[in-house]
Point group: C2
């Protein structure tokens, strides 16, 4: 890298069985960085209009960022992107673990998968050596079995594996991609795309260090961060409790999604809390490459559940999705369902949301035991919940309908089921209640991948957690969680840009790093005399390209909405009587459009494209 920062992108055509390496110019990196920046660029640039997400014309993009694999906390992440089979629009998900770092150490900033293999294959990348290998013997295996088999046949347990599972093979529309067994690129159905390409896994072994423009600067920043994380309250909390602390906290405030978002309080919450998990089943905590924060639980549950700690354990989203949102207060059953999702490659959020949807249909007589194959699919039926996970992954019985996601399932079921389908653009809503956090509610609506809590920022509470980023960006006044004023929309915009920058770098949102230190880190890695303005413009570029992609794929303003439920008041709990006012919501969404340089229909203005140096988007 003597001549500036650059790297390699591996392109694999599974139809032709060919691989090739591209070396983009430094300016390409500087304008798009990596991660989500890459995903939005390549999807818009290379996909034709109306491409079938599950056809060979879709592209599956594994993208590192400049920070991936650098020895500093927060760097063990990568993006996975493709046109989403859930939304038919822009899709991506981010994931931690060790796989992305390993890919970087093998010398790659991204892998772009094109076409479709004739039969199941997996990819084996060992530095410059790239092989497309038969995976027929791996088809139908759990993720654990698959990983073990690959490591055995390649001869090393230190080989890192990312894969989809049985759910991906079956093209469940919310199948996920699993790294290192317990880290999931969960949302947007990236596992289904992987399955549709007959690609079961990508195994990686890398032997190269990341070249750093100023290794001393990076190392001293890494040391400072490691020291800081020891006492930083947010980080210490994360290490001690992961995200699971959210269950009780949100329940207390009335914002815990319960029974398909009908309520915001769950009487069973204390039974599925992080504290109970810790004392009853936690065996260890894990984390990601180079990170001292141990936010990932590993739980063990004895027979009859037999939960294997290799698969990690349920985090907040999962505890709520498969727990409170299904009315289930049996933590062991939730842990088992979580294990199944990971073993089969299912996104726990969408899975839980689909089951909760079906439960509400069942309780309203829209689905009956005839539909469920005799299952009493009432809220709170832990065993039925668990069984539905199996049926979804294998697409059997009602599982086949639910495997399409709540939006399509509701259409298939009919009888007014749509009113119970909690989704935006076809993607199920994560476990953050919009009536409690209306700013995030607007965030769901404008999220480029459909409802997604990782595309935005969780109101100001969240902003405070990520190290005062709002303050760093010039927003000083705290706002109530319930606020939905233009000032909140500004926070949403800035927070969204920051999230997109993090996911282009790619860097963990749970590692508190100020804007300034982030700039220093990027400088140290790349040697660029870069700054916050230039970097945040990368994020603007990314959201704008992704929005242009969605517009090209036919998404319209009407798709940037929320289910009617959230405009209806809670009838109990601390937020009794509270709802989002529809007029305020619409106003906030439209204000967001205007703030980020989109017209009243959400179409990026030509001037915004020109300002971002991506005028070519208008011509594509």
């Amino acid at each position: 890298m003597a001549n500036g920062y650059s790297g390699k992108i591996l392109r694999v055509d599974l139809s032709k069985g060919t691989t090739q390496v591209e070396t983009p110019a430094e300016n390409f990196y500087r304008q798009y960085l990596g991660g989500r920046g890459f995903v939005s660029y390549f999807l818009f640039r290379e996909l034709g209009r109306g491409e079938n997400p599950l056809g060979p014309g879709n592209k599956l993009i594994f993208a590192n960022g400049p920070v991936t694999g650098v020895p500093i906390a927060g760097s063990g992440r990568n993006s996975v992107g493709a046109k989403s089979p859930l939304t038919g629009g822009y899709g991506d998900a981010e994931v931690g673990g060790y796989w992305g770092a390993e890919l970087k150490h093998a010398g790659y900033d991204a892998v772009i998968i094109e076409g479709k293999a004739e039969h199941p294959v997996y990819l084996w990348i060992e530095d410059s050596k790239v092989e497309i290998r038969d995976a027929r013997h791996l088809w139908g295996k759990t993720t654990l079995e698959c990983q073990k088999a690959i490591q055995a046949e390649l001869g090393s347990e230190s080989i890192r594996v990312c894969q989809t599972g049985i759910a991906g093979e079956n093209q469940v529309r919310y199948a996920c991609v699993v790294n290192d067994l317990n880290h999931a690129a969960g949302r947007a159905g990236m596992g289904a795309v992987m399955g549709s390409k007959n690609l079961r896994a990508i195994a990686v072994k890398g032997s190269q260090k990341v070249e750093l423009a100023d290794s001393e600067a990076v190392s001293s920043l890494a040391k400072w961060l490691a020291e800081d994380l020891k006492t930083n309250r947010a980080a210490v909390n994360m290490s001690q409790s992961g995200t699971a602390g959210g269950v009780e906290a949100l329940n207390t405030m009335g914002g815990l999604p319960t029974r398909n978002f009908q309520q915001g309080v769950f009487e069973g919450a204390p039974k599925i809390s992080g504290a109970v998990m810790k004392e009853s089943m936690l065996v260890r905590r894990g984390g990601c490459y180079a990170c001292p924060i141990r936010c990932k639980p590993h739980v063990s549950v004895p027979a009859p559940h037999n939960v294997d700690p290799e698969y990690g354990g349920p985090e907040y989203e999962t505890l709520a999705a498969l727990g409170s949102d299904c009315g289930v207060d049996d933590l062991k059953a939730v842990a088992k369902a979580n294990e199944l999702c990971t073993a089969y490659g299912l996104d726990t959020i969408s899975t839980g949301a689909c089951i909760a949807f079906a439960m509400e249909c069942f309780e309203n007589g829209i689905l009956t035991e005839k539909d469920t194959g005799g299952l009493k699919l009432n809220f709170g039926n832990a065993q039925a919940m668990s069984q539905m996970v199996e049926m979804i992954a294998r697409k059997t019985g009602l599982g086949k309908v639910l495997a399409e996601g709540v939006a399509r399932a509701a259409k298939t079921i009919g009888k007014g089921a749509e009113r119970f389908a909690m989704h935006v653009k076809g993607q199920e809503i994560p476990m953050h209640e919009p009536r409690f956090k209306p700013g995030l509610g607007v965030g769901y609506a404008i999220s480029l991948t459909g409802a997604d809590h990782c595309h935005n920022i969780h109101d100001n509470m969240y902003a405070a957690r990520v190290g005062g980023v709002m303050r760093d960006l010039g927003v000083f006044d705290p706002l109530p969680t319930q606020d939905l004023s233009p000032a909140k929309v500004r926070m949403l915009m800035y927070g969204s840009l920051w999230q997109h920058l993090l996911n282009s770098l790619v860097f963990c949102q749970f590692v508190p790093l100020s804007v300034d230190r982030m700039v220093d880190l990027v400088r140290g890695i790349t040697g660029w005399q870069t700054n916050a303005w230039e970097l945040i413009k990368v994020a603007e570029r990314s959201i704008t390209m992704a929005q242009a992609f969605n517009i090209r794929e036919g998404k319209a303003k009407a798709d940037d909405g929320l289910p009617a439920r959230f405009f209806t008041p809670f009838t109990a709990g601390p937020l009794n009587g509270v709802s989002i006012k529809e007029a305020a919501f619409t106003q906030a969404r439209d204000t967001y459009y205007s703030m980020v340089g989109w017209d009243k229909d959400g179409v990026p203005t030509l001037a915004k494209l020109q300002e971002l140096g991506i005028e070519w988007v208008a011509k594509a």
Copy 2:
């Protein structure tokens, strides 16, 4: 300043004869910084709609920025702002020298002058002591006489004086404010406002050092800069030739404003070049507080001209305005006219432009010897040019008409004189030819103070000169000077924002400092963990408030235009046949509006105000 960065603003009510000190909160500083940021804030916030610029209701704001007075090159500057008597809209001008730094050392970030004194006064600020003193004896004096008198009566030659002159007393609409005898806050008629308030001068003596949050960081940056300036080509050029090198350079390229912008080449250019000035009359070079760059010429010319080097000497703008634009190739006469402008407090650009306008009227028979009092006001008549300077300052004869600026003078004169009036919004066009630099042409049109070359950036050549700021802001591709594509508009926008940031800090545009080092400097001074994003947002805030001010004062899209001459091709010289295409110009201007978040009429959108945290602007 134990509790964060803050400071003092001195408010003087000349009608009541009172003074008071305000101490804004730190967040105020962080959102508006100083300089132009302050001027745009206070003008919008405190002036009623339709205030007479020359009435007691106007406010005259002398504003330092966080950098003013800090011991580092580039810090010897301040802004002077008020509603402009030339444009009837937002007005400001920046100026170097020692006065702003002295004001900062007296403890003040700004002085806001309100009301009107009953008789001529001057202000005497010595740290916390503030006096309004009689200035009747100073009225009618040259700036040199006035400064000497004040220094004598206050007992120290180290007292710094800013003042207006006879032109300001007479409320010539383009009277300037002169610091330290040879530094002018030239544009927008700030001297006329000062004169209208019966305020002849502000004398300052300060004994305090600027408190720095991290004096070591600032000092090491200052040392680095001082070292860098020794070899930095742009800086060395500036020290050796000042701006005067522009005469021959622009003439060679065909972009030297000649005979009221009729031509772009001047056969007499070699006679009024920087090189000739250097060898024939330069006696020394001067500069500003803490700056090793000696960009200010001091010239001496013997009898009969008797040019006193105390008044400095002509810089590029002056050489062109009183030289080539008037068709005058007599450098001694230009030096004399420059001295007169400085002695009387006249902006040399507007003065030259007004005389050039009158000359073209004269040559076209629209003005005759009857109007000029017998003066043969042909292009090239150096003596007539000099005499007109006197007449304008004293508002005698035709000078009284021209003292109103070309826009008003053309209306008074009639007979189609308007086609010779080279102005935007009533302010005369500076000496940069829009047909040569069409990007700057659009910059003139959208400049908040009317035609002004210090509100924008001079195309990419200029961008390169100021230390790669475009590159720092993520713009990598150079563009031809003649280009007027959307990519150029993006440069205009970024360049304009950067200029506004520099003028809010306040920092000299001739001292090349990268975005990163600028951020480091602001951090060192203020202790803020700030970054380029936050700082450039201050600039956005400033242009947006100023634009909102102009809109409130009745300015409309039609005011954001250029004289027809620039849409007509040159008929000779290297740019023979070249003009700005009107459609391309309109398109570029409209693109600029959209890029900066203004609607198609140039009105800042509500969402932009909200994003910048200045929603109050919409309610005012």
